[in-house]
């Protein structure tokens, strides 16, 4: 183990947790709107987000990550998923791991054990960012309105993840399925994205899913 101070950051008591879009009360919107929506939005809230930094060229680092997570360390612009967990490339020495709610503490310990002795960093950023999932036949149109990045399937296959300019801010776009995309957003921008996505998808019909 490293000497880093690793501790359970998620309250294990009955403390109330509010997602970044708590104030929007998405629950009350479920099932409303058009019957055949072009875009379905789902807030994947309060998941465990960890950034992992290390030398991607070091086989020991890649092997350690694989040992701890059971997922291969992805190369440039790639996203690897296994069950409800996923790891994506953010930069040449930086990856983002997203695990189901509550698993981040155990995973961080496992990672630190597997990467002991290497020059690495694992940081729990769960409180700072969030995940929005967009599904539907018109999601690509909404993305095309919002970003200058080419989201055509030829350039953006399933399993690609990129950081780019989106609307008037920045976020990470991940394609997880033929018609399914995820946006990794900053917590403090959540309201802006929610308002933007409502406006951008209004003409196609927006629905909220649980």
């Amino acid at each position: 183990m490293t000497t880093a101070n690793v501790y359970q950051q998620r309250p294990t008591t009955e403390a109330k947790a509010e997602s970044p879009l708590f104030h929007a009360d998405l629950k009350s919107l479920i099932g409303k709107g058009r019957s055949n929506p072009g875009v379905v939005l789902r807030e994947k809230k309060l998941l465990g987000h960890l950034t992992i930094r290390g030398n991607g060229h070091d086989p020991a680092f890649a092997a350690g990550v694989h040992k701890a997570l059971g997922m291969e360390l992805p190369g440039a612009l790639a996203l690897v998923s296994s069950g409800d967990s996923s790891i994506q490339w953010l930069g040449p020495d930086e990856w983002l791991l997203i695990v189901p709610t509550g698993e981040e503490f155990a995973v961080e310990q496992k990672l630190r054990e597997a990467l002991a002795g290497l020059h690495i960093a694992v940081v729990n950023v769960s409180g700072g960012q969030s995940l929005l999932e967009l599904t539907g036949p018109k999601v690509r149109e909404v993305l095309m309105k919002s970003t200058s990045y080419d989201v055509h399937p030829n350039n953006f296959p399933v399993g690609k993840a990129i950081g780019t300019v989106f609307a008037k801010s920045q976020l990470v776009i991940r394609r997880t399925g033929e018609e399914t995309w995820e946006l990794v957003i900053r917590r403090s921008f959540a309201d802006y994205w929610w308002l933007w996505l409502q406006d951008a998808s209004a003409e196609y019909g927006l629905s909220v899913a649980a």
Partner: protein
């Protein structure tokens, strides 16, 4: 809008994802305390302003958030190459670009 090749992401991205961070290949003096005021002033404040090829530091701010170098033509704004920090450019100015009639 320009498309700039990010050597880390390995693809062309739109210019709005990037920021320029000034001239590249400026080595910090190894022993700052031993510099004269003039040497330190040159290092801190004085930059080239060539007509022609210029080597610049850029950051892919909205993407991988990494710095890299470019070779840009200050006359045409054409970016001839981008290359990782620590490597040398392929394209360099052939000679001091002083032409007839230039104010030197």
């Amino acid at each position: 809008m320009l498309h700039i090749f990010c050597p880390h992401c390995g693809e062309l991205r739109s210019e709005e994802e990037f920021h320029v961070s000034g001239q590249a290949h400026i080595p910090r003096p190894l022993d700052p305390a031993a510099c004269t005021d003039e040497e330190w002033g040159d290092y801190m404040f004085f930059r080239d302003n060539p007509r022609g090829l210029h080597h610049e530091l850029w950051i892919h701010a909205a993407g991988c958030r990494q710095y890299f170098n470019t070779t840009r033509d200050t006359v045409t704004y054409e970016i001839l190459e981008t290359y990782p920090i620590g490597t040398q450019p392929q394209f360099v100015n052939p000679a001091p670009a002083i032409r007839k009639g230039d104010q030197v």
